[in-house]
């Protein structure tokens, strides 16, 4: 038996926005460019990461158009190398890694823990400026000869032989690393020291746990890629020999150092999205999340174990068989905490009171697509199989399922879920559902054929392919155009809603987090009185303030406190 969904108490037309909130507290460009308000900084990031999403998307468009025909008449091979490289660099370093943490994390973490701001607001602003400086170097590289080394910058191509603008790109990514590091530092300290009274570790929203785990990776992983790129850059500029075999150096060392960060980096990209899903699912199943402690623990487990698996990117480089075996085994191990999450989300849905709002559509899409992406990762972790599918489109499909089907859907779903809190207004639900479905269909049409292409042997990073692969490439490009529509639609109606959307009120869904107790949009200092937390996370039963009709609802599981 499921409860009837209650009417949303505060989302009735005729409500007005709060008189004073963080958006209108101060005016003028300086009040934005010199702000230390975590909410405004989050919006600054929103604009910047969207910009880089367009840049990365433009390169993706050119790639897919070029691949419509087997002999690729759009660009030369050299230019094609630049297209996929710049697509990767823009998307990974300047969109995926910052997106959820810097936009949603920055906005929500202080609100979720009952604090007035992050621990170090000025460092938060500095993070954004560092991001811009790094981005500028990379854009300079893109526009003065481009970059053709692959986003992986393998040596000695990047450090010796490439004729593209490697040095500014490497400087840009190096600088951008510090933006990540400072964000991670801010989150860790904030979560440790600034929780409101009563907000114990195990009452924290799982979004916060996810960002804590992500911040561990920011702190311990990013410095390694920073120093690695610094050494590669020095090698290129001064003709040193760290990674150049002609001078006694070791290109495999570069790969070890590079992947030591870049593998955990993929967990930076997915953990925050998992945090978003953990917030959306209980809300739209109107049920406490199943297995809170396991989800929290699995986030930390993913962050830790994720540092032990990097050389699965190097199975075909000549690394030792024993190392390969170890890394393969550990890679299987790291899938377990992810599976735990999927089980728990699904169990939360079971006997829940499910509503099909847009954020829920994204969350459900995430679960399915992440499942496919994650399982195909296990295919790649299998040594024998990897010999055949390494560096093919199978890998490309695998990581796009996780990064786009997973992380981007988590990001877009999260934007929708918290849009009322950020702007005070609701987005148009019908259009939003259409966009979500469009995105899902477009995504699968783009990337599922790529699994088949990879299995059939089409290599990645090649500008041409045998004619028998054309039909799948055409399907993929067709899918990409639908996917693009799925991205453009939200951009249009979200911006529209900032002016014309229905006023949302404090808690339109309703959801149980502390952030939903504040005004929409919140005051600059978030809370007029420091809250005192006396309830468990996702406790839909003991919260009469949510206005939910949960009396006599035996199907609702008890709140977390009984785990």
């Amino acid at each position: 038996m499921s409860t009837t969904p209650a009417a949303r108490p505060s989302a009735t037309p005729g409500n007005t926005l709060p008189r004073e909130h963080y958006l209108n507290a101060t005016y003028g460009i300086r009040s934005w460019l010199l702000t230390t308000d975590h909410k405004r900084i989050a919006l600054l990031y929103l604009v910047s990461v969207t910009f880089f999403f367009f840049i990365g998307g433009a390169f993706a468009t050119m790639i897919r158009i070029h691949l419509l025909t087997p002999n690729g008449y759009l660009v030369t091979a050299e230019t094609y190398n630049k297209l996929f490289t710049m697509h990767g660099v823009a998307m990974i370093f300047f969109f995926l890694i910052p997106s959820i943490p810097a936009v949603l994390g920055n906005f929500l973490i202080p609100l979720m823990i009952g604090a007035k701001d992050l621990a170090f607001p000025k460092i938060n602003l500095l993070s954004w400026y560092i991001y811009l400086v790094g981005g500028s170097f990379v854009l300079y590289s893109f526009s003065t000869g481009g970059l053709d080394t692959g986003w992986t910058f393998y040596t000695p191509l990047s450090s010796v032989y490439s004729n593209s603008a490697v040095t500014p790109a490497v400087i840009g990514v190096f600088i951008n690393g510090f933006s990540s590091i400072l964000t991670g530092l801010n989150f860790i300290v904030t979560i440790h020291t600034m929780r409101a009274p009563g907000m114990t570790w195990f009452r924290l929203p799982l979004f916060v746990w996810a960002h804590y785990a992500t911040s561990i990776i920011f702190i311990l992983g990013t410095p390694v890629i920073a120093i690695t790129l610094l050494l590669a850059g020095l090698e290129r500029m001064l003709h040193l020999g760290f990674f150049n075999p002609a001078l006694g150096g070791d290109p495999i060392l570069f790969q070890h150092l590079f992947w030591f960060y870049s593998h955990p980096a993929v967990y930076i990209m997915i953990l925050p999205a998992m945090g978003v899903i953990s917030e959306i699912i209980p809300t739209f199943a109107r049920k406490p999340i199943f297995g809170y402690t396991f989800i929290a623990g699995s986030s930390i487990a993913i962050a830790v174990i994720g540092f032990f698996v990097w050389a699965h990117h190097m199975f075909l480089t000549g690394e030792s068989a024993y190392a390969a075996l170890t890394f393969s085994l550990l890679s299987y191990l790291v899938a377990i905490p992810s599976a735990v999450k999927v089980f728990n989300w699904t169990s939360t849905l079971y006997k829940g009171s499910i509503s099909w709002d847009t954020p829920m559509l994204y969350a459900l899409g995430f679960i399915g697509l992440f499942l496919v992406g994650g399982l195909t990762g296990l295919f790649l972790a299998c040594l024998g199989l990897d010999i055949h599918i390494h560096d093919t489109y199978f890998v490309v499909a695998h990581f796009h399922y996780i990064m786009v089907g997973g992380a981007v859907m988590g990001y877009v779903g999260g934007l929708h879920f918290w849009w009322p809190k950020i702007t005070g207004r609701l987005y148009p639900e019908f259009l939003a559902r259409i966009a979500a479905v469009t995105l899902f269909i477009g995504f699968n049409l783009t990337f599922f054929p790529q699994f088949i292409l990879g299995y059939l042997g089409m290599p990645r990073r090649y500008h041409s392919y045998p004619p028998e692969f054309q039909v799948f490439n055409v399907m993929s490009t067709a899918g990409a155009s639908i996917l693009a529509l799925g991205y453009l639609l939200p951009m249009v109606y979200l911006i529209w809603s900032m002016r014309y959307g229905t006023v949302a009120g404090r808690n339109p869904w309703p959801a149980t987090g502390l952030e939903w107790q504040t005004d929409s949009p919140p005051l600059t200092e978030n809370f007029d009185v420091t809250p005192e937390v006396t309830w468990e996370a996702y406790d839909f039963i003991n919260r009469p303030d949510l206005g939910l009709d949960v009396q006599g609802a035996p199907s609702l599981a008890p709140a977390h406190g009984d785990d």
Binding site: F120, H239, F242
Partner: protein, 217 residues
């Protein structure tokens, strides 16, 4: 701009502010461990691949200057720790004196480093600047020795850069200390910059044996 010693708006209590600042500095230092760590990794692999040339190259840098620098830097850690103590017990003049001593010792370290670098420059041991390990060295030996010196300059150079930043911080700290800004209730900048300074000392504690003491027998 907040004056030192006031409660920042995002914090509820001075205690929370202090705890946050301290944790923040320790987390930052952990990033530095991994940052330098990447170079220690590069060093480890290259030394294990070319042990003999690395030993030879190590012998060509001055053990005396390296050892003296080690003593100087550890002494500066002592004076830095003493300045933290002085701030905790409210001895403002001693605080300033110890900070100045730390700065002097740090500058001595950098001066000696400059002398060492100059020596290497004169001997053509600077990669990228007419590098030549020794007359008659084979191409391979030259290349492998250049690897040692690339690491030598990269690692001690990054370390020296951190020392220079530390010196700048000390100058600021001395200025604040002369204005009497630090009391037993509030000495957070002294504590934090102290942590940073000790960390830079620890990096050198590892650099010294790894670069100077490879094969001295």
């Amino acid at each position: 701009m907040h004056r030192t010693g006031e409660l920042f708006g995002q914090f509820e209590t001075m205690e929370q502010q202090r705890e946050s600042a301290s944790l923040g500095m320790w987390v930052f230092l952990s990033t530095e461990v991994l940052f330098f760590g990447g170079m220690f990794m590069t060093y480890t692999l290259n030394r294990s691949t070319y042990p003999d040339v690395f030993g030879e190259a190590s012998r060509s840098i001055s053990l005396t200057l390296g050892a003296v620098n080690t003593i100087v830097l550890i002494a500066s850690s002592l004076t830095m720790a003493m300045s933290v103590w002085a701030s905790q017990v409210g001895k403002k003049q001693l605080l300033t004196i110890f900070l100045i001593l730390t700065l002097i010792l740090g500058s001595v370290f950098l001066g000696i480093k400059g002398v060492e670098y100059h020596e290497k420059f004169v001997e053509h041991h600077v990669p990228g600047l007419n590098f030549s390990f020794e007359p008659g060295a084979s191409v391979a030996t030259n290349a492998h020795a250049q690897l040692f010196f690339s690491l030598y300059f990269a690692m001690t150079g990054l370390h020296a850069l951190h020392m220079i930043v530390g010196a700048g911080l000390l100058i600021w700290l001395i200025g604040q200390s002369l204005k009497g800004r630090f009391t037993p209730e509030y000495s957070t900048p002294v504590d934090l910059i102290g942590l940073y300074w000790h960390f830079v000392d620890i990096v050198w504690i590892f650099l010294f044996p790894l670069l100077y003491l490879i094969d001295r027998h």
